[in-house]
Symmetry: C2
Subunit: 178 residues, 2 copies
């Protein structure tokens, strides 16, 4: 799988022009994106746009490998510095795979997921599922103040052999050019 | 700890001049360095310079939190493309924390550790211990064909709450400038 995902980079570059090292790493890393943003941009925070519990529909149950109707935390955040938005991130977390402390931190909603995992010393692995380009909708255009196409990826954070978190992350091609 | 480690970057930049995004990420990421090199440089391989089992001395037993005399796999490799050496890496692995399949892959010696972890779906977390500059010795100068100072870090890969691998990675300031 990893191999296929890497093969997407040259295809994307045909549309966007050459990606920077930082962009390529942000699209493919299996490490904490929060840590990378911390070192590139100074300490980052999140702005939570949406945070709710929803029952898994067919699509979500298939993504998370849970039953339809199971409770899922659905969170949409902007990871940002004080000055600028950096990454738009949508997460799906099946609630009954969480312990109480993790759940509290997730609901408090002001902590990036990478930092929650670190705080609780959670051992995990990340499986990158897809990398692609997407045109921004009006919400994204407004938040990032750009018409640039967005670089996107989806991935799973696996813990105890199960999907603990499914994430989609997006940032405009005009960011992280260095 | 992570916070302190990030604080080292500006100190290092006082000596080396501004680091590139790729250099800063390589020094601080808690993800697979092999993956990052794969996406930046094309598929990388390793050249094993040393690979042996040694009894832990006082220093090693303290680093790995094992008893003195316990058997440790000591491995020195160059991660490289076909064209150029990229990273010099020294690893210490306490043997009795490994299962047999992992041990075989480690001893086969031609697989980067990031790829071994991925192959066996190992869930882990990485704790960056230190980031610093070091002058190259003659071996490093010769391998990398440079007198540049080297950017270095040490970190632990933690699995089941114990140190599975201690690593030191080094690369010359003249690499990953983009």
């Amino acid at each position: 799988m990893a191999k296929n995902v890497f093969d997407e980079i040259p295809k994307i570059e045909k549309e966007t022009g050459k990606l920077s090292s930082a962009q390529k790493i942000l699209l493919t890393t299996d490490g904490s994106v929060t840590s990378i943003l911390d070192v590139l941009k100074g300490h980052v925070d999140i702005n939570t746009l949406k945070q709710e519990f929803i029952p898994a529909n067919e699509e979500i149950s298939s993504i998370l490998k849970i039953n339809q109707g199971d409770s899922v935390n659905y969170r949409v955040v902007i990871i940002k510095t004080e000055k600028e938005p950096l990454i738009y991130a949508v997460s799906l977390v099946p609630i009954n795979r969480l312990n109480d402390e993790f759940k509290e931190d997730l609901i408090r909603a002001d902590i990036p997921i990478g930092r929650i995992l670190k705080k609780h010393n959670i051992e995990s692995r990340r499986e990158i599922k897809s990398i692609f380009i997407e045109k921004p909708d009006n919400e994204l255009k407004e938040i990032f103040d750009t018409d640039s196409p967005f670089l996107c990826r989806t991935y799973n954070i696996i813990h105890h052999g199960e999907i603990l978190i499914h994430l989609k992350e997006m940032f405009p091609c005009s960011l992280f050019l260095e």
